[in-house]
Amino acid sequence: MIELINVTKSFTNGIHALSGINLHIGKEEFVFLVGSSGAGKTTLMKLLYRDEIPTSGKVIVDRINVTELDASQIPYLRRNIGIVFQDFKLLPKRTVYENVAFALRVTGALRSTIRRKTMQALELVGLLRRVNSFPDELSGGEKQRACIARAIVNNPPILLADEPTGNLDPATSWDILQLLDKINKRNTTVVVSTHNKNIVDEMKKRVIELEGGRLVRDQQLGTYNVK
């Protein structure tokens, strides 16, 4: 589903964010991406949805060579990838419903389809009570649920979550990870970058560790630290 072949990313300011990354993530896998800040986790995620282009190497997502993708095709790639952010990136002047529906609106979907799918996604994340609330009126966990609902409303085969629990308390973080696990079990490939040791250790999923832009560990049923 996701493949990185000898991927290197250097920025114009001379920082080498990633070097020589080779990685394969299969269909419907659940993968934790761990490593200290600046290890290259976010850059790796951005390469997958073409927010960044690798300096060298190949990135393949859902059989599409993202590296060589024509700019006009990028929107269609992104409709197949749900993205969850640490800072939620919700539109502050729109209700929860509008925020989630937004991801369907851009696809030109019919109003009835938008309504049905948006309500389904909100039901899945347990946010039906808050459809008419604005982001300011939500707790951190609710904001993240709204963000997840927006990410999955299109039924994408891939869900990327960049530090989804970075701003949440432990209990809420655990709820969010349970939700991501539930989504994974509905046939979605899920990649989660995180600093949350407890969760990684508890969930026992595949763990990929980056350090200084290099892949230093790839472990099935792994833990946050090497045992």
Binding site: Y49, R50, D51, I53, A71, S72, I74, P75, Y76, L77, R78, R79, I83, K89, L91, F102, A103, R105, V106, T107, G108, A109, L110, R111, I114, R150, N154
Partner: protein, 296 residues
């Protein structure tokens, strides 16, 4: 598609509301420049109309002071009639002119006591088909031996004509400059609203919006600003022009001002579509510039 269009329009109005002051500035700028544009257009067209009617009434007069037999006078009349560009020639002999003059003034004074001899010349009133031909026709008539003097108002026409072309050139330059300035203001206004919504645009693109999807609300915002500006300026121009023309025609009813409904409608339509186009192009340029600097 219909739900997208509805979304774009709602977004456009939302954006105008959010940056109400700048939208107002853009609309006001469009009103000012379009009104000036319309004023110049009407001014130039009216001046053209007036000159046209003056020159169409332009006659040329040839005087002969020497004595002429009626036969000779007839020969000269035919000669003038045959000149290219001449439409009509009327001859008034000096005797006839003198009689007319005396008829008119004898009741007031006894001319015979003051003037012993008829001082008036024979006169040929020549109507020329086209004002541009006046100089040539005048020259040809002057070259006829017996003709002493030829008079016409060529200079006046020439002066009005050069005034009109000056107004036309100056007006065109002013309109171009104003349109450019308006476009710049509209572009920058909408660009401010685009920049204010950069995060929105970033998120839109992250969830898979195409560039066109992102652009449409801003283009529609430009169109709304343009339509409001265009309609307001055409109403201002229409009402003020009608008021001014009515006043002038009451005082100078013979002045051939433009009151033709079709032509006026064409001018107003130009203003409406001009405003709409200004707004639309402004919206398109501003959002395209911001998108270019955005992520891919």
């Amino acid at each position: 598609m219909l739900s997208s269009l509805e979304f774009f329009i709602v977004e456009a109005f939302r954006s105008i509301r959010r940056s109400a002051l700048m939208s107002f500035v853009a609309i006001a700028t469009i009103i000012v420049s379009l009104t000036i544009f319309g004023l110049f257009l009407l001014l130039v067209l009216n001046m053209g109309n007036i000159v046209g009617s003056i020159s169409s009434r332009m006659d040329l007069v040839a005087y002969v002071y020497k004595d002429l037999s009626l036969d000779d006078a007839g020969v000269i009349q035919i000669k003038i009639s045959n000149l290219p560009g001449v439409e009509k020639v009327e001859f008034t002999s000096k005797t006839e002119a003198w009689n007319n003059f005396k008829d008119e003034f004898n009741s007031k004074l006894n001319l015979n006591e003051v003037v012993y001899d008829n001082p008036l010349p024979h006169t040929y009133m020549v109507r020329v088909r086209n004002a541009d031909m006046l100089p040539q026709v005048a020259k040809e008539i002057s070259s006829i031996d017996v003709v002493d003097e030829v008079r016409y108002n060529g200079k006046l026409i020439q002066q009005i004509k050069s005034l009109i072309s000056a107004v036309r050139v100056g007006g065109t330059a002013l309109v171009i400059m104003l349109s450019f300035a308006t476009l710049l203001i509209v572009v920058n206004t909408i660009r401010l609203t685009v920049i204010a919504r950069e995060t929105d645009i970033y998120i839109m693109k992250l969830v898979g919006a195409t560039d066109n999807f992102v652009k449409w609300p801003f283009i529609i915002e430009g169109i709304i600003i343009g339509v409001v500006g265009g309609v307001t300026s055409l109403l201002i121009l229409k009402l003020s022009y009608e008021a001014v023309v009515n006043r002038i025609l009451q005082a100078l009813p013979f002045l051939p001002l433009i009151t033709d409904y079709g032509l006026l409608m064409a001018i107003y339509a130009t203003m409406f579509f001009g405003g709409t186009a200004l707004g639309m192009i402004g919206g398109y340029i501003s959002v395209s510039r911001v998108l270019k600097n955005e992520m891919q």
